[in-house]
């Protein structure tokens, strides 16, 4: 098996449009969630200053200006034929590719682009349909290519020249994680020499906001995952991209290695379109842990003495005891966080209460198809710095969850606990879990 390194990162998020800005905001606990501000973003179709929603906050990307900012510049053709969602993806992919230098070292015909996007070009589609149904307006000939879900993947391939496998993965809130996991497996197996993988989403249209409002799962205050008084998720948007390549080659060329990806597990609840089930998420966690052994072998632990529970015995020869951080799906809804906590306990047994857990959505909001990619990026940065970011907005952690939630300030990665998980649990019961490992230089 080829070991896989993360050698490039890029992002457009509510807490920063570069990785440096993201890292700084993440460790300062500076949230990108803010009240609606009509001067910051006009949602076409929204009338009046009060949107009349139960929730009053979102995590919006700001200062994204591809027309005027050279760092975000898009060719005229790409700018015209894309929705802002794909534009977030293209610009963040460009950052990741430049960060890693991957295109100088790999034949683009051997590389893959695997991208997650749950909602496609919803803003473009909604605006075109609004014109059609209210004024019988004609629809731009670019309406189809702006709205298609694979727009980002195709345009990233066009911009980078990658001619290997290019895919869009659409699994709602797990899209970005599934994309990175699939890319990891492709590089590990040799199916792709290197990969650009991540997720993007910019679905915060007036129709999208109204639809979420009707579901009554969005916080009327602010997302505070695992808090005793949590009251819902906060919607966000953004993109994050990772460059994956073989570890040996990355070391040989002196690339900066943020972290290794060492495992990926996925599962389906096969249960309900919105209600998560702990058994499904636990299975994905367990599969990610077992996948680490496929990548690395080992971990050659000392034989355990004394009584062991069933879960403990099943984990005895796995990397579970090396897990030092879980970047949780952590949406902040009462149900998600309780079910995710139950899944962590089911999968990790006696280790569960002692593993530091954090939730990046407290800073960025929930960006659907981009969320898993943004959280993978946060996890890679955390291992790179050996410092675990804290969960913002949390006063008192829900004691019934029995988790070690990181609050108030970042915490050092514990010695010998060099493995981290990043969980994504999507609507429809689609679960994806990535396992990362710190790269010691």
């Amino acid at each position: 098996m080829v070991r896989v390194a993360v050698t490039g990162l890029g992002c457009i998020t509510p807490i920063g449009n570069t990785v440096a800005e993201f890292r700084e905001a993440m460790y300062e606990g500076r949230s990108g969630i803010a009240p609606f501000d009509r001067t910051a973003r006009r949602f076409p179709g929204m009338t009046g200053d009060d949107p009349g929603l139960r929730f009053k906050t979102t995590g919006l990307v700001t200062n994204f200006d591809p027309a005027n900012n050279p760092a975000q510049k898009l060719s005229t053709g790409i700018a015209a034929s894309t929705d802002p969602s794909a534009q977030f993806g293209i610009v963040s992919a460009r950052q990741a590719v430049e960060d890693s230098g991957v295109l100088k070292h790999y034949d683009p015909s051997t590389m893959a682009v695997i991208i997650g996007c749950g909602c496609g070009g919803r803003a473009a589609d909604e605006e075109a349909n609004r014109g059609l149904y209210t004024r019988n307006a004609r629809i731009s000939p670019l309406g189809i290519v702006r709205a298609m879900s694979s727009s980002g993947a195709s345009n990233i391939a066009i911009e980078t020249g990658v001619t290997g496998p290019v895919l869009n993965i659409s699994t709602a809130c797990a899209s970005g994680t599934h994309a990175i996991g699939l890319a990891f497996h492709m590089v590990r197996s040799g199916q792709a020499a290197a990969a650009i993988a991540g997720g993007y989403e910019a679905a915060l249209t007036w129709g999208f906001l109204r639809a979420w409002d009707s579901m009554r799962v969005v916080s009327p205050t602010v997302c505070r995952p695992f808090a005793a008084d949590r009251d819902g998720m906060t919607l966000g948007e953004g993109a994050a991209m990772l460059v994956l390549e073989p570890l040996d080659a990355a070391v040989a060329r002196g690339a900066h290695i943020y972290a290794e990806i060492v495992g990926f597990g996925m599962s389906a609840d096969a249960h309900h379109i919105t209600q998560p089930r702990a058994e499904g998420a636990a299975l994905a966690i367990r599969r990610a842990i077992d996948d680490i052994t496929l990548t690395l072998g080992g971990p050659f632990m000392e034989p355990h003495s004394g009584e062991m529970s069933g879960v403990e015995r099943s984990l005895e020869h796995t990397w579970a005891s090396r897990i030092g951080y879980i970047n949780a799906h952590g949406t902040g809804t009462p149900t998600n966080d309780a079910v995710e906590a139950a899944a962590i306990h089911q999968a990790l047994g006696p280790h569960a209460p002692h593993i530091p857990v954090g939730a990046t959505k407290s800073l960025t909001g929930h960006s659907i198809g981009a969320a898993g990619a943004i959280e993978a990026l946060a996890t890679a940065l955390a291992l790179d710095a050996a410092s675990l970011p804290h969960t913002a907005n949390v006063g008192v952690v829900d004691p019934t969850l029995d988790l070690d939630v990181i609050v108030d300030a970042p915490r050092p990665l514990a010695p010998g606990k060099d493995v981290a998980l990043s969980n994504s649990l999507a609507f429809g019961g689609l679960n994806a879990v990535l396992a990362f490992r710190r790269h010691e230089r």
Binding site: R54, R216, P220, Q275
Partner: protein
């Protein structure tokens, strides 16, 4: 049976694809296997039908069809000029 009750019963029956006769005021959501998503969907339909807004805080107290009917009556009484 008054108009509100019969309209709510009709909505519930439609949402679960049941005959109207299978839904009574005392029928519980558990009996009808109405899960959390069904409940939100039903709440939305009731809000649309009666031009009311059912507050989040009251959702947990809705356990039977009759609870919904009484909730609608109360909200409509608080807004007597409603034309729905």
């Amino acid at each position: 049976m008054d108009d509100i009750a019969s309209r709510v019963i009709e909505l519930v029956a439609q949402s679960k694809k049941l005959p109207v006769t299978a839904v009574k005021l005392e029928t519980s959501f558990d009996e009808l296997q109405i899960d959390s998503l069904d409940k939100i969907n039903l709440t939305f339909a009731v809000e649309e039908m009666f031009s009311i807004e059912i507050p989040d805080a009251s959702l947990n107290s809705l356990k039977t069809v009759g609870d919904v009917v009484r909730g609608v009556e109360k909200l409509r009484a608080a807004a007597p000029d409603d034309t729905a």
